[in-house]
Amino acid sequence: MKRVYAREEVCAGCKLCEVYCATAHSEYPSSILKAFQRQETRPVARILVEVDQPLTFALQCRHCEEADCTQGCITGAMTKDPETGIVTNDESRCVGCWTCVLVCPYGAIKRDESGHKVASKCDLCSNNDTNPICVQKCPNNALIFAEISKGGD
């Protein structure tokens, strides 16, 4: 499947991916200003920029083939779509137990406590075709959305 890969050698560490991701997954997906100013709680980005200068890179759910989060999920909210391969969290079923946070080896699942507590994670902007918002908006092409075959890399 296509995944988002970070190219740390050109990541400027600006964290604009976080801003755009948070906006896209907020109550006001088309307006940064509204998302950050009107939503009661600050919107949570589902991508995370790690910084240990000069190293920076963005990291988000890897949509694992054998996803620990889906296996560990106590409610069955976290599932991997057999067609698209996208791992998503059904927030209506999630109870915020953080087992997924415990098992995700990438640390890619965040706690969103803005509403009822839920695990918040990358959903590839709900598609496996067009570029997710983080890829679209990365000002330095440090994120790519691509299929890398096994043994490829």
Partner: protein
């Protein structure tokens, strides 16, 4: 039947999903003594607290069995397994032949012998029916004594306190959550819970449940303290529900003993989940690890093996993510080592209820506690699972921004740029 699965919880469901990954056709029968569509046991406290409604209790969608093409036999018991005949007999008198059998019978509550157990108002806290019972009997301002300050006991305490009942917890150990927390962390948790009006009696236990008119009226503690109460919840723990196995001649220790492929001593019979003793990669021996992720993984691995794969179960270790009254914590592995081969690193800020502890053995991470700041704890779990050499970044492990940026480039690239898992 080609496959028979006994048990309708995480390990059983994992088994079915595992089988179906490999064998979309073979007939599957699922047998459970609970008459429910598969539901999530860890959610019972949420149910009791009213945070999760009935319709959200289910572990899989309504058409799950249909989709998986599973013959369902709910609300009945397996009386016996006849390994030689590859047959099981049911409480209905039926006999069912199997080619492969999964024992995912889970655990049962540990109920210590004491007077008064038969009284009305004594509950255990394991199944949905248990909390439905409590829900039906509990009134506002009732006094409830909970025996056991482990995960179950405290989840019960949280739920019941939320129902405006008065909760007292009695625990034999010197601290709450003694299996997953050390003293300092436990102290923080206890304080948090006490702030919500829950009382604790540590280093103590209930000696006798007292009653009047067949109904619970109080308890007497070991130290002589008398507590009035309207209900007692026994939440000491669970033990493997292994009798069916042992009676059939399966090798049994604390739980049913399985090999690396989750087979019992009868190669057609598998066991997974809370009933079994799987490999613990930290202790390097088989242990009962009654936690949900472990149960599911064992189940699905066993399922694939039952359907013909030859997949080694990588092993697991104890790990828990839980929160009480908004205080989250994640712990894993060995958190309170008792020998000098371990090293501990601690960062604590009690005021903010932040506490982090790292336990290492040699160049390996073998356990941690994260209180409050639990974000990205999974990275640590991953390092434990992969038995990664942590020496190059050991001093960063407690940093608040610890992440892949601090891991060696090769590891980082392999993990993030390769195909994942």
């Amino acid at each position: 039947m080609k496959y028979v699965v006994i048990g309708n919880s995480a390990a059983g469901i994992g088994t079915i999903e595992g089988i179906r990954q490999v064998d979309p056709e073979g007939s599957i029968m699922l047998i459970s003594d609970e008459a429910y569509h598969t539901y999530s046991r860890p959610l019972i406290s949420y149910y009791l607290a009213g945070k999760v409604k009935s319709e959200k209790m289910y572990y899989r969608e309504a058409n799950f069995y249909e989709k998986m093409n599973v013959t369902l036999r709910l609300g009945l018991k397996v009386e016996a397994i006849l390994p030689e005949e590859k047959t099981i007999s049911l409480s209905t008198g039926e006999k069912v032949e199997y080619e492969k059998l999964m024992l995912a019978t889970g655990g049962k509550p540990i109920i210590p012998e004491m007077p008064g157990l038969q009284l009305k108002g004594v509950f255990s806290f394991l199944k949905w029916d248990d909390v439905k019972d409590i829900e039906a009997n509990l009134k506002k301002d009732d006094k409830v004594v909970i025996i056991g300050a482990g995960l179950i006991g405290l989840k019960a305490a949280e739920a019941i306190a939320g129902l405006e009942a008065q909760v007292t917890v009695v625990e034999l150990a010197n601290r709450v959550l003694s299996a997953i927390l050390d003293e300092e962390a436990a102290g923080i948790v206890q304080e948090t819970i006490e702030d919500k009006g829950v009382e604790f009696h540590l280093n103590n236990t209930v000696k006798e449940i007292k009653g009047s008119n067949d109904k619970v009226s109080g308890v007497q503690l070991q130290d002589g303290t008398q507590l009035e109460c309207d209900a007692v919840i026994i939440a000491i723990g669970v033990s493997p529900n292994k009798d069916l196995g042992s009676e059939a001649g399966l090798t049994v220790n604390r739980g049913i003993v399985v090999d690396d492929y989750l087979r019992t001593n009868y190669t057609d019979i598998y066991a997974a989940g809370d009933v079994s003793e799987g490999y613990d990669i930290l202790y390097k021996q088989n242990r009962v690890l009654p936690i949900l992720p472990n149960a599911y993984r064992q189940g699905s691995t066993a399922g694939r093996n039952m359907a013909g794969k030859d997949e080694r179960y990588q092993g697991g270790f104890a790990m828990n993510a839980i929160s009480f009254f908004g205080l989250p914590m994640i712990t894993a592995g060995i958190i309170k080592p008792d020998s000098t081969e371990f090293t501990e690193m601690i960062e604590s800020g009690v005021a903010k209820k932040n506490y982090r502890k790292i336990v290492t053995r040699g160049n390996k991470l073998v356990g941690f506690i994260a209180l409050n700041k639990v974000d990205r704890a999974g990275i640590l779990t991953g390092l434990m699972e992969k038995e990664t050499d942590i020496n190059p970044f050991k001093d960063k492990l407690l940093d608040k921004d610890f992440g892949y940026a601090h891991l060696p480039k090769e590891y980082r690239h392999e993990q993030l740029l390769g195909v994942t898992k």
